[in-house]
Symmetry: C2
Subunit: 366 residues, 2 copies
């Protein structure tokens, strides 16, 4: 794996982002932010699942008015997502949020941006400049818009990336001319190829921390493939200081998948068991799919990062068991449990789950 690209370091409440700090997992509430109770409840759930910073939408003044209550209760840093109305940014900064996100596609007035910069500077608060494929094409001037859409149609991939990076660069210049450098950059699209190439360009051209995400990825069944495809490729390249996986679903899934992604790439230590299992094939003598589900449930309260293998196979089973901390080699009606490659117990099918749990807990205590 490539080492991580060096970026400027910024603070996000008590967290550090960029400059080699661990990749921060973000999610976003889908409650109405003005419903402070519902928003706080969702933030607590996301934080308990491993979310490290949370974004909330602030389309109206009622939403920013709820921020003090939310901030008082939130166990993790809160980021205000601001579109169209720069006043929402000023209100959110005033309420003490930990970061602001601005979209260059809809807050473009230089004097407005400069008022937000001044307020953030005073609070030492970072700003994410978040370009979205959906809002790069200027909607005010019909002629310019038609021209840009025509250019995109000619060479969709490269033109789209050029337009997005140009938009980002123009906006970043406003901040740099105001000597404000606590920036985080992102350039999102629903197309993983655009996300990959756009963020590679961002990483080459700018030294600011990078926020990765595939926008509008859709429901989890397809969205997780698109999101992981883009984010893993960039992370494996050393690019990315914070990530948000986004689905049209309960945001808790975003956090579960983000955690698994960072753990499996070695970018976050694992909490709880790592399960490896046979891919199931015509050599199986047991219902491995059911057994794996049973084991997941039985080990749900284990917090130690124990590597557990569930194998129903003489081909790869014993070999994989060498690499696992605790392994269950399950055959017809009976199983063998190995600890670090050494056979420690032979059990009946009925005893399997409890025996595995005991050995995993015993291993975790050592």
């Amino acid at each position: 794996m490539t080492s991580r690209r060096q970026t400027r370091q910024v603070s996000l409440g008590p967290l550090l982002m960029g400059g080699g700090a661990p990749v921060v997992i973000q999610s976003m509430t889908n409650t109405h932010t003005h419903d402070a109770d519902a928003t706080i409840a969702q933030i607590r759930k996301l934080a308990a699942a491993g979310c490290q910073a949370v974004r909330v939408a602030t389309p109206t003044k009622r939403d920013t008015a709820a921020l003090p209550a939310i901030l008082a209760a939130a166990p993790i840093p809160v980021i205000a997502d601001v579109h169209y109305h720069f006043e929402r940014a000023l209100e959110a900064i005033d309420a003490g949020v930990h970061k602001i996100r601005l979209n260059p596609g809809n807050i473009n007035d230089r004097s407005q941006v400069e008022r937000v910069i001044a307020a953030c500077r005073e609070r030492k608060m970072p700003i994410r400049v978040g370009v979205n494929e959906g809002s790069i094409v200027e909607r005010k001037d019909a002629a310019v818009r038609a021209q840009e859409l025509a250019a995109i149609a000619q060479d969709p991939h490269d033109q789209l990336i050029r337009l997005m990076i140009d938009k980002l660069a123009d906006y970043v210049r406003i901040f740099e001319e105001n000597d404000f450098e606590d920036l985080v950059l992102s350039v999102k699209s629903p197309d993983p190829r655009v996300v990959i190439d756009a963020h590679r360009t961002v990483s080459e051209r700018f030294g600011y921390p990078v926020h990765l995400g595939v926008t509008h990825a859709g429901p989890p069944n397809t969205g997780r493939i698109r999101s992981v495809a883009a984010l893993a490729t960039l992370l494996a390249d050393g690019i990315g200081d914070t990530i948000r996986i986004s689905y049209a679903a309960d945001p808790i899934h975003e956090v579960h998948d983000a955690k698994e992604l960072l753990c499996c790439l070695g970018l976050q230590p694992r909490e709880g068991p790592e399960l490896i299992a046979c891919p199931t094939c015509g050599r199986l003598e047991i219902d491995l799919v059911k057994l794996v589900a049973d084991v997941q449930r039985r080990l749900a309260d284990v917090k130690a990062p124990v590597k557990v293998a569930i194998m129903g196979c003489v081909v790869n089973g014993p070999g994989e068991a060498d690499g696992a901390d605790v392994a269950l080699l399950a055959g017809k009606g009976r199983g063998v449990i190995c600890v670090q490659g050494r056979q420690v117990r032979t059990v009946t099918e009925a005893e399997m789950l409890d025996a595995l749990y005991e050995e995993v807990q015993a291993f975790a205590r050592r």
Copy 2:
């Protein structure tokens, strides 16, 4: 995106693999191969879902004896997975399978390998050399084994990859010394980082087609993150001529996810609608999660690659609708349908799904 790495081209029944041919989606049955009826039924389901070649386990003579019946009924090429017993390979070749997979970890006798090579050469049949992390460490000689495990413990990542590549290179030499070059190579591990770095090395050192997979990835909820993380990173790098995603689950999930992965990276044309949707946030005025699920069901029989956007948002909704073929912008109690960015219908909530279906079908006919 990087262009695809050039590899030697081999045939897999009527398919081509390597040398710029489209990436082939593989899966593996988890029926007992000797149960020909169950195996044929599963192969037909996998093929209908988009699987292009299927592997079957052949641990016993009863399994290879079922191959003629399976081959007569299978709509896609069949690959025999052979471990321990080289006779299974000879029987499978005789039955007319389209490819053989050998594991250097358990068929090591040179004269046995040469008999398999001779049989494959006669049939112009390719062989996959599939090294698995689980079976690289020699199990016969306890002293050698202890030494290799100790080396891995010292520097797990690099030593493991070195051992796997050495094993592969030694085995490939047998084939090259016999002037047999219709090879496909793979080096699987449950760790995506090992899979990424090992296949990068394979791609640099050898010119043969590459088969990608994360072995023992576990159940789909975590396995798909690990598999997509490794495979997307390699595919985005231009590496990989065939892929198998493997889960401890019904293999149909492997095919669905493999298809979505290749489509979203532009490596396979999309069949049926591509759904993009809001990530849901505090700006929503409707239950978008339910709406997206309803739309997925309503459009299930659409076969054309129409890009459909489901948006509940004034921020990115209209912009994304520009990029989509057909878009539904859903608000409180009513919705607007756009076709290629132009508003064509305003509908009530009750009419939404049918109206969207009509517009998608109308667009597909054009």
